[in-house]
Symmetry: C2
Subunit: 304 residues, 2 copies
C-alpha cells in the first residue's frame, strides 16, 4: 500500500443556486473543484481545468494550501463557466435555468509535463473527445476512472464507447446508467454497461446511496441520512473525488480497498450537502470524517 497522486480533469465554475434556504450567487463550484477538495483528504491531487479572468485567486490558494497542484489550471481570457439552477423545496429534483460555457467552450486539456505520469486519473463529465485526448497524454496512468452525463450518452455514444473501453471504473448516476444501457433494471443495466468495457461500475443514487458492480459481485453503500440538507450541488463529484482519493491512497485497489473507499466516498459526500457550495468541504477535517465513517458503518453493520 503506497499512496499515489491523483489527476482530476473537469470543470471549475460559478454556480447561481436557488435553494430552499434562499438564493446563493457566484458560488464557486465545478466538478474538478468538488472532486479535488474531497480527494485531497486522502491523496495528493493535481487538477487540469480552465477558469476565466473572474475566477477568485483565493479559491486556487485554498486548493494549493490543501496540497492540490494547481499548475494545470489554465487562466484564459474571458469569463468562467457558469451554471444556474433551481432546486425543488425537498431538494429531490432540480431544474437548469442557465448554462454559460464561456472559457469552457474552448477547453483543450493541456497536461503539464510533470502530470503525464500520474498513476490515478479521474476524468470528469467533459466531452468524450476531450476524455480521449487526456488519455492519450497520460502515459503513466494505471487506474483510469471517468464520469459522464446524459448529454454525451445521447449525442456522442460512439466516442463515449471508445472511452468506456479504456476504463478501470465508470462512475455514473442511476438515470445515466439506464440511459446508457437502455434498460430499466439496474442489475441488468449494470451487466450490459460492464460488457461495454469498464472493469468496474459505480452507480450513484443520490440520497439512497451507491452500488458497486464488478466481477466479484455487488456492493452497496447507503448515503448518510442527514438532519440538515442545504445544498446537494457537487455531492456526486465530491463522492467521486473522495472515492478516487481513497483508492489512490491505498494503491493497488483490491476488493477490500474498494469497499472502504465507497464508505469514505459516501461519508465525505454527506458533508458536502450540509452547506452551500464547497463551504463544508473547506472546513472538513479527518476527525469529523472518522466519526461519521463509524456512524455510517454502524448504520449497516448487522452485528454491531
Amino acid at each position: 500500500m503506497t499512496p499515489q497522486p491523483l489527476l482530476i480533469v473537469g470543470s471549475m465554475a460559478f454556480d447561481d443556486l436557488d435553494l430552499p434556504s434562499g438564493p446563493a450567487r457566484d458560488v464557486v463550484g465545478g466538478s474538478a473543484t468538488y472532486a479535488a477538495l474531497a480527494a485531497t483528504q486522502f491523496s495528493a491531487v493535481r487538477i487540469v481545468a480552465v477558469v476565466g479572468e473572474d475566477f477568485p485567486q483565493t479559491t486556487l490558494d485554498d486548493l494549493e494550501r490543501r496540497g492540490v497542484d494547481v499548475s494545470g489550471i489554465e487562466r484564459a481570457p474571458g469569463k468562467t463557466f457558469r451554471w444556474a439552477g433551481r432546486y425543488a423545496d425537498n431538494l429531490a429534483s432540480r431544474t437548469t435555468l442557465d448554462t454559460q460555457l464561456n472559457v469552457f467552450a474552448d477547453f483543450k486539456p493541456k497536461l503539464p509535463p510533470a502530470f503525464v505520469d500520474t498513476p490515478y486519473l479521474f476524468l470528469g463529465n467533459i466531452h468524450p473527445a476531450l476524455q480521449l485526448d487526456v488519455l492519450s497524454q497520460v502515459k503513466g496512468a494505471r487506474f483510469v476512472a471517468a464520469d459522464t452525463m446524459n448529454f454525451w450518452i445521447e449525442g456522442e455514444r460512439k466516442l463515449l464507447g471508445a472511452v468506456l473501453e479504456k476504463l478501470d471504473l465508470l462512475v455514473i448516476n442511476d438515470e445515466e446508467l439506464r440511459q446508457l444501457a437502455q434498460l430499466h433494471n439496474l442489475r441488468l443495466a449494470a451487466k450490459k454497461v460492464l460488457a461495454m468495457g469498464p472493469k468496474r461500475l459505480i452507480v450513484k443514487r443520490g440520497e439512497y446511496g451507491a452500488l458497486l458492480f464488478d466481477a466479484e459481485g455487488t456492493f452497496f453503500v447507503p448515503a448518510f441520512p442527514l438532519e440538515e440538507e442545504i445544498d446537494p450541488t457537487g455531492a456526486g463529484d465530491t463522492f467521486a473525488g473522495a472515492l478516487l482519493g481513497a483508492l489512490a491512497q491505498s494503491d493497488p485497489p483490491d476488493r477490500r480497498t474498494f469497499r472502504r473507499a465507497l464508505h469514505l466516498a459516501s461519508t465525505v459526500a454527506s458533508f458536502c450537502v450540509e452547506a452551500v457550495g464547497t463551504r463544508r468541504l473547506l472546513s472538513l477535517d479527518s476527525d469529523a470524517i472518522k466519526q461519521r465513517q463509524a456512524d455510517l458503518r454502524s448504520l449497516v453493520h448487522p452485528g454491531d
Copy 2:
C-alpha cells in the same frame, strides 16, 4: 430466546393487476395473507381477517399447512375485498383502478378466545378504530406493531394518534412518514413521529431498502437488487410479516435481534417481487432464504 406466536390482523383480498409482464386477474392477496406467508417462515402465526364466500378454500388450506392458525378468519356472506391496480412499465409507481370493500366494509375483528394472549401482534393498515378495538381484545400482547396508510393519516389523525401511543413499533413507508410528520427530511420526520408514541419506527423505502429509528440510533437495510422484478404487490406486507415473525422467533427483541430481523425482512420481501402475487412465497424454503441473506449481508459488509 423462546419463540412466540404472532397474531396478524389485516385484509385478505383478490387483486386484479396490470403488470408490465401482462394482466393477472383474481390474484389472492391482502396484507394479512402476504404478512402471514412471510412470518410463518420464522414463527407460529394466527390470522384475524374476513373473506367472502368466493375466497378459495385452497388458500386457507395452504396457510394451515404452513402452520397458520386460520380459525380467526371469518367467512362472511358476500364477496371478498377486491383491489385493482396498474403498474408503470418500470414498476416504480402504480395507480389504483378500483377498490371494492365488499365484506371488508363491515369487518369487526373478533378474536377467538385462544388468541387473546398472543404475545406478538401486527396490526395491518385497517381503520385505526379497528386497530384500537383489537388492542382492547388482546390482553396478553407484549409487543405491538402496526402499519397505517395515507387515508387514515389524512382523515383519522386523532384516532391514529391513540394507536401510535400504544405501539412498540410503527412500520410505514417514507411518503406516509412525511405525511404523518408533515416534514420532508426523513431524520427529522422520524424524530417527530417517535415523539408521538411508538418506541421504534421502521421506514420502508421500496427498492431502496428500509430504515430503523429508535433510541439506539439508526439502522439501514438495503433492498436486495433483483434481476427479475415481476410484481411488487404485497412486498411491503411481506417485509412487515417477515420482520414480526423474526422478532417473535427471537423473543425478547433487542438491538441485535432487530438488525437480524430487518435483514430477514428485506430478504424475504425480495422473493415476493420475483413472481405474481404470493406464488414465490408459497414455494420459498429456508435454504433459499439463508443463501440470499448471506448475499444481502455481503452486499453491505465492508470487511467481507
